[in-house]
């Protein structure tokens, strides 16, 4: 029996009797990070990183949570478990599972560049590595964060010069905080959508240091938004909620903006290729750094990425999971 099995409920460790990021309710769940496709309702016990806990509380309500620090080992039925920084969003972790001298690591979602918020990705040696592949094609290559931040800042300044508000679409957990980090260098007139406001509050309560923002309220007057920057989640894009910011210029921050057609389809004025996932080179670097003799490839371009690994001397197979699409489909009804 492999140490981790791929079941209908999620990744399951029989020896330790726990699941990692299950998509159905289970007894014991270890959570890589607080995005909704990885952290779901209904389990009886959740184990996560200290910084993930407040966001899980916000999103899943009160539950039986246990949180740990990175590199701190705990044991379940004699199976040794530890969490290691994944660099994806605040608190995001890879899960290392060790039993009878065999080590498996599930990456969760990850990126290699240190964004200054999420902790620097830590390569973890293992026998078997389970990796995401959201951007697992060589067309996806990211520029340095500093270069993208500079582009975003210039765009905001240009809009201010043209007397327009800057509306930036960014996933409320992770991307929004990075955008905030970028724009707070050029303006302090920043508004956020309610969903991002709630995340911000939870992060502040947990002791994160974030720039001051204002919440977009139903009674905010149009004049408040003149030349302001507004950060909103993808669900708000194209909704009547956006009308109040007119005149504005619209930008979307996502790795999918790498391809012109995706950017054009979204009808934004600008697409910033800012991703919280590893690009092609990042995935390859991460896989090689683990020294794993077997790699399982999940959510993304798993067929192409695993075939490429096989052709390059790394035994790989693809696995179907219920993860993915966080960059594309976040919807929000909170305003």
């Amino acid at each position: 029996m492999p140490l981790i099995e791929f079941t209908d409920s999620g990744l399951y460790c029989r020896a330790g009797n726990f699941y990692i990021d299950p998509w159905k309710p289970v007894e014991r769940a270890i959570i890589t990070h607080a995005h909704s496709d990885h952290a779901r309702h209904g389990s009886k016990y959740y184990l996560c990183h200290h910084k993930t806990k407040p966001i899980l509380q916000l999103r899943l309500g009160d539950n039986n949570y246990q949180s740990v620090e990175w590199n701190e080992s705990i044991s379940m039925n004699g199976v040794k478990i530890s969490l290691h920084p994944a660099g994806h969003i605040i608190g995001s972790s890879q899960i290392r599972v060790e039993h009878n001298g065999e080590v498996w690591v599930f990456s969760g979602d990850y990126k290699l560049e240190d964004d200054g918020l999420s902790g620097a990705f830590e390569p973890v040696k293992c026998n078997v590595f389970i990796t995401e592949s959201t951007f697992g094609l060589p067309i996806y290559k990211w520029k340095k964060q500093s270069v993208i931040y500079h582009d975003i800042q210039q765009w905001v300044l240009k809009n201010q010069a043209d007397d327009k508000a800057s509306v930036i679409i960014a996933y409320s957990l992770g991307k929004a905080q990075r955008v905030l980090q970028a724009i707070s260098a050029v303006t302090d007139n920043i508004f956020v959508h309610g969903a991002i406001w709630n995340t911000q509050e939870a992060l502040l309560m947990a002791g994160e240091n974030l720039p001051v923002v204002k919440r977009v309220n139903p009674d905010s007057s149009k004049a408040d938004f003149k030349n302001a920057v507004v950060i909103a989640p993808p669900g708000a894009d194209g909704s009547p909620w956006m009308k109040r910011f007119t005149p504005y210029s619209l930008a979307i921050c996502s790795g999918w903006m790498q391809v012109r057609g995706n950017a054009r389809r979204r009808n934004a004025d600008r697409g910033f290729v800012l991703s919280d996932h590893a690009d092609w080179d990042g995935l390859l670097t991460a896989v090689k750094a683990t020294g794993a003799e077997k790699v399982f490839v999940t959510h993304g371009f798993q067929a192409a990425f695993s075939k490429y690994l096989n052709e390059n001397g790394i035994a790989a197979a693809e696995v179907k999971t219920a993860y993915g699409n966080d960059e594309e489909t976040e919807t929000s009804i909170e305003v």
Binding site: L137, I139, K141, R260, G261, R264, R265, D269, K307, Y308
Partner: protein
């Protein structure tokens, strides 16, 4: 190239006409003259010829990037655009400090390379990839190299921008950039300020295009003010005789004189200095043949005797734009029509038919006539205001096309392919089948008609229900039923189903229907019997 790449970026990124116009104006205000001429050429369909075949570019790129071809193909299917795929794959830091060569340097190099060896072409390509420091620069370079430039800018917008920059009237600009000029030799000044009509006797006028009529025609007012004709399903064209030479232009701004030798005999019959607007239609004894017949001769270089006998073309004329060398476009339609009737009657030749005017007294009466369009091999009716001048481009108000309702059939989706452009990385191109007993037989492909939300749903279905993992086409579980609409049907020996549809598209998603409820091959054959003969 930076300036041009920037222009292409803005034109591709924005959907706002005003911003496109602004970008074009800014470009024409600051670009160098040679580049401006090439941009006008590119935007009016005068693309330079392909220098290197797509297959070779692809192979060389994979080799340069050290990628297996199958992975290159996966990238290509995801991006949906070869030039962009290559621009994204070539590694190298974005470098803004590289040499910025003008657009015409590249195009002129391409022209010189036309006869060069493969090795020389490859070297130039690799050198340019390295020189062009940005994705956007490499993207436009690859587009030019592969002869695949298509830009989402209407002729109208280009004309508007040029008119602003040159201080010329729009119709004047429209006329100057039309016709037979060579961007390799003409200067911007010569092109824009060429007042000498004789310089190019072949030059057509910009076409006046009708708007689709969405409302009922009674919104147009009094019936006396309107002239009705059949809307023919052919190739829109202009027949010109100047300097005792005959020219035939298609609406695609293509000189097609050679392709339609039937019109040669009109040369001696037509008066000097005349321009006629009409439809190039295959017809025998004045009766149109289905458009599918035309498709059997369009692509051919040599028009054989057999084709001339089986699919002869006729010019169905409906307007006169120039007479005795004078521009007639400002004269009201009703007067142009009278003149046209006199001329065609005098010529009396089978290759030149006047498109008849349909007489009617009430809109209801006309609506009843419209129902018979398909039997008359027409797509519907044209409604033209009798007092209208002949305008430029698609203008709302005086000319309307009132098309008939399409034919429809229910079919099941069996294959899907990722789209391109705005539809990149989404399964948007589908193949459909009807029932043939217990089997399914494919009969049509369609790309359009669904909303973005529906496309996302279908895309999700395809990703979860497809057999193959690699390659462009996915065989999907035959489960999703759609109503397809199309304009016509004809017998075809090239299709498995034995029929070819004209303009098939998705009318709606029949979520209420199951695959067993779809139409059959016999239903299609019946349609062929009724409408396709």
């Amino acid at each position: 190239m930076k300036l041009f790449a920037q222009l292409i970026y803005v034109l591709g990124a924005t959907t706002k006409t005003n911003e496109k116009l602004k970008a074009l104006q800014e470009y024409f205000a600051i670009a160098n003259d040679k580049d401006k001429v090439w941009v006008i050429a590119l935007f009016t369909g005068r693309r330079p010829k392909r220098v290197i075949s797509s297959t070779l570019i692809k192979t060389w790129c994979a080799e340069y990037c050290n990628l297996p071809l199958w992975l290159f193909d996966e990238c290509y299917h995801t991006v949906g655009d070869l030039s962009e795929t290559i621009a994204l794959l070539i590694t190298g830091e974005e470098n803004a400090d590289t040499i910025d060569r003008p657009l015409h340097y590249y195009i002129e190099s391409f022209i010189q390379l036309a006869k060069a060896s493969e090795e020389e072409k490859k070297n130039f390509m690799l050198k340019s990839w390295e020189e062009l420091g940005t994705v956007s620069g490499r993207f436009v370079f690859n587009k030019l190299l592969s002869g695949a430039f298509r830009i989402g800018v209407s002729q109208q917008l280009l004309i508007q921008a040029l008119a602003k920059v040159t201080d010329l009237e729009k119709p004047v600009v429209a006329h100057r950039i039309t016709g037979n000029w060579d961007p390799a030799v003409i200067s911007f000044d010569e092109l824009m300020n060429n007042s000498d009509m004789e310089a190019d006797a072949s030059r057509p006028y910009p076409f006046y295009l009708a708007y689709p009529l969405e409302d009922l025609p009674d919104t147009l007012g009094n019936t006396d003010e309107w002239q009705a004709e059949w809307k023919w399903d052919g190739i829109r064209g202009q027949l010109i005789k100047r300097s005792n030479t005959l020219f035939t232009w298609s609406r695609g701004e293509e000189l097609v004189t050679e392709k339609f030798p039937e019109y040669n005999s009109l040369k001696d019959l037509l008066p000097e200095g005349i321009v006629l607007d009409g439809e190039i239609i295959p017809a025998i004894e004045g009766k149109p043949l289905p458009f599918a017949k035309m498709q059997t001769r369009i692509g051919r270089k040599n028009i054989s005797k057999k084709i001339l006998q089986e699919v002869p073309v006729c010019f169905f004329v409906y307007d006169i734009l120039e007479f005795e060398g004078k521009d007639m476009r400002q004269i009201p339609l009703v007067d142009r029509r009278k003149l046209l009737e006199q001329i065609t009657a005098a010529i009396n030749h089978p290759a030149l038919q006047i498109s008849p005017v349909i007489s009617f007294d009430t809109w209801d009466e006309l609506a009843a006539i419209r129902v018979n369009s398909r039997e008359n091999l027409a797509e519907g009716l044209m409604l033209k205001r009798k007092s209208s001048s002949y305008q430029t481009g698609r203008k709302i108000g005086d000319w309307w096309k009132w098309k008939i309702e399409p034919l429809v059939i229910d079919a099941v989706m069996i294959y899907a392919q990722k789209g391109s452009g705005r539809r990149s990385n989404l399964y948007t191109d589908y193949t459909f089948a009807v029932k043939d007993g217990e089997k399914l037989v494919s009969f049509a492909k369609a790309y359009s008609g669904l909303t973005d939300k529906e496309i996302a749903q279908v895309d999700n279905f395809v990703k979860r229900n497809s057999l193959e993992k690699f390659g462009p086409v996915r065989t999907v579980k035959p489960e999703l039923v759609f109503e397809l609409a199309f304009e016509g049907i004809a017998a075809s020996s090239r299709h498995k189903s034995g029929v070819a549809l004209r303009f098939p598209r998705i009318n709606r998603w029949r979520k209420d229907k199951k695959p067993e409820d779809i139409n059959t091959i016999d239903d299609l054959k019946n349609m062929l019997e009724v409408y396709g003969k």
